[in-house]
Symmetry: D2
Subunit: 425 residues, 4 copies
């Protein structure tokens, strides 16, 4: 059985890197984090307490298999039992009467085959993924390590006098875990809130105090179910799910541009596996739309739904369109952007501070940030440069491990600053 | 004012050729024929007596203008008044107690620009169309002349002792006039029935005693109505009728082939006239489906309707699909095929008799033939070779005028044979 | 024979409104304007001197017919003769050694059916279009009147001491006349340049000193030529131009959005006139693309050409894609924006000055403006509010005729200001 | 190590059923058959002697892995070595001066998941597939057993006095093995030839003496390769392989019907696996066309190639279209149909003989049959009813094992009849 309490920041990141777990399958990660934080007397909310089960999106099959695998890889069984089939946790600890400060890190990996040659640092150092086809290719291993690092720093060193609340979010990829985590009561008392992300094609030593305006998006899993028939003997008896899908795809890309701003549409994960001599009875795709604003996103989603639905009617096949994932947008509070900027002054390794920068991607921390803001709290999203040698989501993505320390220090200083904004930190 | 009573067969055909009238606009032709036959004491049914008004398909606009034009071109006004806005007539005369024999000829022209150079016989002889863009390019001028010729022959020469009933049908092109003519009571007492057609890429002197098995077809006029908007300022505010139509067209051609036999699909008369800087709010097309059997035609029609409808839903536009024309199929009665073959023996100019031949086209005499057969009568469809120098429906179509006489003689002998099948004619 | 020399500004506009001439058919307008200006001793360049014949786009057929019609409507024959088949003119007059100031107005009408009820001011006053289906629905009648008014004002009243040069441009609609006018030598010596437009959904009394950043666009006339065949007998022998076009349309709307900015795509003027029982051998459409920058416009044009071309290959038909019209973009010079603003201070009827405003439409004065700027001159594009009761290009478009006087005064004051920027005007 | 020499017909079929091998992977089957027939002193041609390596179609990857698996499952290594990477064999034995008679059986399995419940006979009897996802779902296990059974019968019992030549063909599914087997010299001396098939939805006891007129078909593996890009950040930088494929699919189904006869088109094995936030750089499909005649098949193949190619150009992506499989058609010789019918009279278990019956499917024995006929031999294709409880290619397909004996007896009697057509057998 593993425990992560004795591991250094870098060791911890490497351990997580070796056992990447994709969305809603982060059983090992959740269990090890929970164990380590309970050991420090954090109150740990698991399962349905950390995540609203009904709001979960894009939940994969065979969670039991994933849990079994986690157990074999050292996840403490008592925690596996407590979390049921729901990954993710919220850990909090009260140090004094000061404000409640929340920190969100995400934990899930991607379906990417990690590079195995010596040009790839994790390969050179022997800590590449033990799970074929899966990889921490977006730095969430580092995020989780930073989350643990912050708890240690506040616990052991800082004079922070409020309540610290860590949100270890599952299933960020695809935008599936943010919304259900935002719909528990866990955010209600949070007054200050930061989310963090490593990499972003920035050099180590550069940070963004307020990443902002990600594109709201919606992902739909669309499945057409027709009727098979032999394409030679009885083509007319079939109901062709593939023709429906092909028509839908062509028309989805043709959704009219919107005069109010940026919109996006794309289709992936396409398959229709019938043999070529059978009229297709099954065709599937994942559709993603984005818009610069929630209204634009809604415009795209509405049109996309109309199209995928009419394509089914056109070919007399059944259609289901399930929400696979969703994100929204946010704007950091200026007070928090300033807090991070000032905190950065106290982290010597930080050389450059970009106050604000827009995303053209999407992010489901958006749901947590908006929820905090809705209830009167203040929030921001911090970017931490890590000289990533290749792009996010690629087989050669990696983070400069020096950035882990920078992340811990910056977040810790920001937390302290939230408590005593006026003191000279 | 014209009258056709004094014209020879060839003169009559040439007069009609000069004044071609397209479907439902045959006011001049109808009036002149009616006048000529009433002069011979035929009982003439006009307007709603010859055609069921409710069953008319593909009725064009501005019938009043067509009527005015007919009057200017010599149509006797009293007949124009009697027929109202409905062209076509049925003329009958009783000669004795013998059987009722029906003959159907059609009268309408096509939207074709007639050739005007000297290689084209009507141009050389100076009787090309006086109506720009319209032409008797399928021989119906000859059919009408044959109909008149048969009445003269029976009236003046023959010892036919039954009742002769001539059906001068409007709007055969597009399959629009046959059904409404079949749905009056005019066919009820018909015991023997022949329809005739000139040309058919056969030499003069060759006839078909039983043309058979035309493909049932259905034509739909489809119109999409969207919402216009400026394509630069507000493309999203439009509802694009053109995108709907384009998707429909691509999918219509993709209707699955049927294992039970021949099917056909085609689209024509397509337009979407919006300027290029306006999202299209109007898009129109005519869809035609055919099938080897009524079931196959129904299969195609059902699928086509589903597609054109779903394309509207896909782009959130309104759609109407109106029946423009329709034909069915038939099989000649063997007795009638034999009757025509035997009659042909008595027409010296006929050298070759093809007993039966299938069509790959469509024909709305099918409705009249089936109605006669349904009520116990016997029917056939006669093809009369006329050495047409170019294909039907082209600018250089023409018929060898010697075939007019052959047609009159063959039909007259057939009528006589129907009365006295056993006599040696 | 008409002459416009004796007409007031309002009478002139109404005369032009009664005889709307669409692009490249402005024979009457050109001849009358030329005659009036030669009467005032302007030097008038016509035909190939005013317009580069090779650069003309979207030239319609039957120019001779249009010229004949113009003659019947009072165009002086000597001018019709001088211009040949090319409309548009440049008129210049030297008053002294001061700078050369150019003014561009456009003259063409649109294919719009004018409203005829009493709610429409031109109907109430009896000066609606005498040309069915054509209408001055974008105010160019007023622009031409303003051009004439400015020459009168400078000639009769002003102490302007430079050279005045009026560009009466044909075929602005569709972006067909601006480029060929910009490619003569006529702009070479122009130091200051203004173009004017009435309406723009602004109230009378409001002006824009610098309309800017119209979207560059390109319009292509695409024609597919296939092979006809009977859709029942031989569908396989056809080459289906309609299928090619439908596929092209669906894919054109699907051109990927561009991350650098706004793009637009639309299709209009679509037709494929084959009867429904013939495989389509002819299909046509006009494709329009726009982009926020010339690069984006090029991106769209390139993709569109690739698509329309591949659609032809896909269905084995011939394709031609002819440039129908084109515009580019521009930015007014700040000096000119200021000049117009200051001139506006001296026109009491002007209450509101908007210094700059972007277009989301397109405009081919862009070519003239860029050419002036390229050779060192300064230019702007003036918008003149005219309380238009309904949108541009609609059947009820109209301009408040008080705006004509405002236009003349504003342009005259601006011309004077260009000559003596420092004087107190 | 296995040997099949001691197994009964039923045991042999069950052994093969347990170890299904898909096309070009039949290493175990080939090796065991070769060993068994060499043991009986047949001359066995393997590898490049039995199959023209250059003509092979649709050869899968990792043949070495398949061979290794075969070795583990008892395939004699010496045979594996002799055949190289090519499966299939031809075994011949001369008994006397009589004619050379060829028999073709096929050996490959399908990618079908076999049913495992007790309603399925192989499950009840414990001989279902040991290879997950693969199954003898078309009876080729039985065909191979019949081939072995015939050699035993001729060898042990019959007084056949010619040369017997068995063609154990690989990769019939998809039409991949027939052509390369037909292009060796092995068929040159064959005077009489039969191919056999079990099942065909006929009851045990019914046979077809001459299955005929299968539809020629062609299968193409089409792959589009585009350029990936982030669908949010840079959709314009991608080259969308999925859009190309969707357009191709819609247009493939729209290939015009042919007036000369039956045509078919279908698409299967479709995938485009990019995540939804990446513009698709990879899209694949298998296209199958059929025609009633080789000309019709060529028409469909040509059109399909044109479409898949133009779709690539339309979206500026690369495309490859590889021939995956191909079949042709044939007509059995009447002499052989009679021979089989007469042979059937001597097999008491056969109750019904259907002389001839058309296929609406496809079959690559067609290449062998045509080759035999081309060189002056005579051939037929025998169908052997086996009361299959569910359709071919389904998870519950099975054959009544009594049909194995019928097959052996019918083929043996036919062979004898070929040698001595006049004797009373």
């Amino acid at each position: 059985m593993s425990t992560i309490s004795d591991l250094s920041l870098v060791e911890l990141r490497r351990d997580l890197h070796k056992y990447p777990e994709t969305g809603w399958r982060e059983f090992r990660t959740t269990a090890l984090v929970a164990e380590a934080l309970e050991a420090r007397e954090f109150t740990v909310a698991l399962g349905g307490d950390a995540i609203d089960p009904e709001s979960r999106l894009g939940v994969p099959e065979d969670l039991e298999g994933a849990k079994r695998r986690a157990r074999e890889e050292g996840a403490p069984p008592s925690y596996l039992e407590r979390m049921g089939e729901i990954t993710g946790l919220v850990a909090s600890k009260r140090y004094g009467d000061g404000p409640v400060v929340g920190v969100r890190v995400d934990m899930d990996a991607l379906q990417v085959n990690e590079a195995s040659d010596d040009d790839h640092f994790p390969a050179r150092e022997g800590f590449t993924s033990r799970h074929p086809g899966k990889m921490h290719a977006c730095g969430h291993d580092g995020h989780t390590a930073i989350g643990i690092g912050v708890t240690r720093e506040i616990d052991d060193v800082s004079d922070f006098n409020g309540t610290l609340k860590l949100f270890f979010q599952p299933a960020e990829e695809g935008g599936r875990g943010g919304k259900p985590m935002s719909q528990t009561s866990m955010l209600e008392d949070v007054e200050y809130f930061v989310a963090v992300h490593l990499g972003l094609d920035l050099d180590t030593g550069t940070i963004i105090a307020g990443r902002e305006h990600p594109l709201p998006n919606t992902k739909l899993d669309v499945q057409y179910s027709g009727r098979p028939s032999h394409s030679g003997h009885a083509p007319n008896e079939g109901r062709n799910a593939l023709q429906a899908m092909a028509t839908a795809i062509s028309n989805l890309y043709g959704i009219a541009r919107h005069s109010d701003g940026v919109t996006r549409i794309n289709v992936g994960e396409v398959s229709s596996p019938n043999p070529q001599n059978v009229i297709a009875d099954d065709a599937r795709m994942r559709v993603e739309v984005r818009g610069e604003t929630p209204d634009l996103e809604t415009y795209m989603t509405d049109r996309a739904k109309t199209i995928v639905n009419a394509a089914a009617e056109m070919h007399d096949v059944e259609m289901t369109a399930e929400l696979y994932g969703q994100t929204t947008t946010f704007e950091p509070d200026e007070s928090m952007v300033r807090a991070v900027s000032e905190a950065a002054d106290h982290v010597p390794a930080i050389e450059t501070v970009i106050p604000r920068q827009s995303f053209s991607g999407s992010e489901d921390a958006s749901f947590l940030i908006r929820e905090v803001q809705r209830t009167g709290g203040e929030a921001t999203y911090i970017g931490i440069g890590a000289s990533n040698p290749d792009g996010h989501h690629t087989a050669r993505f990696d983070v400069d491990e020096r950035a882990l320390r920078i992340g811990v220090d910056l977040v810790t200083r920001t937390i302290e600053h939230c408590e005593q904004p006026d003191r000279s930190i």
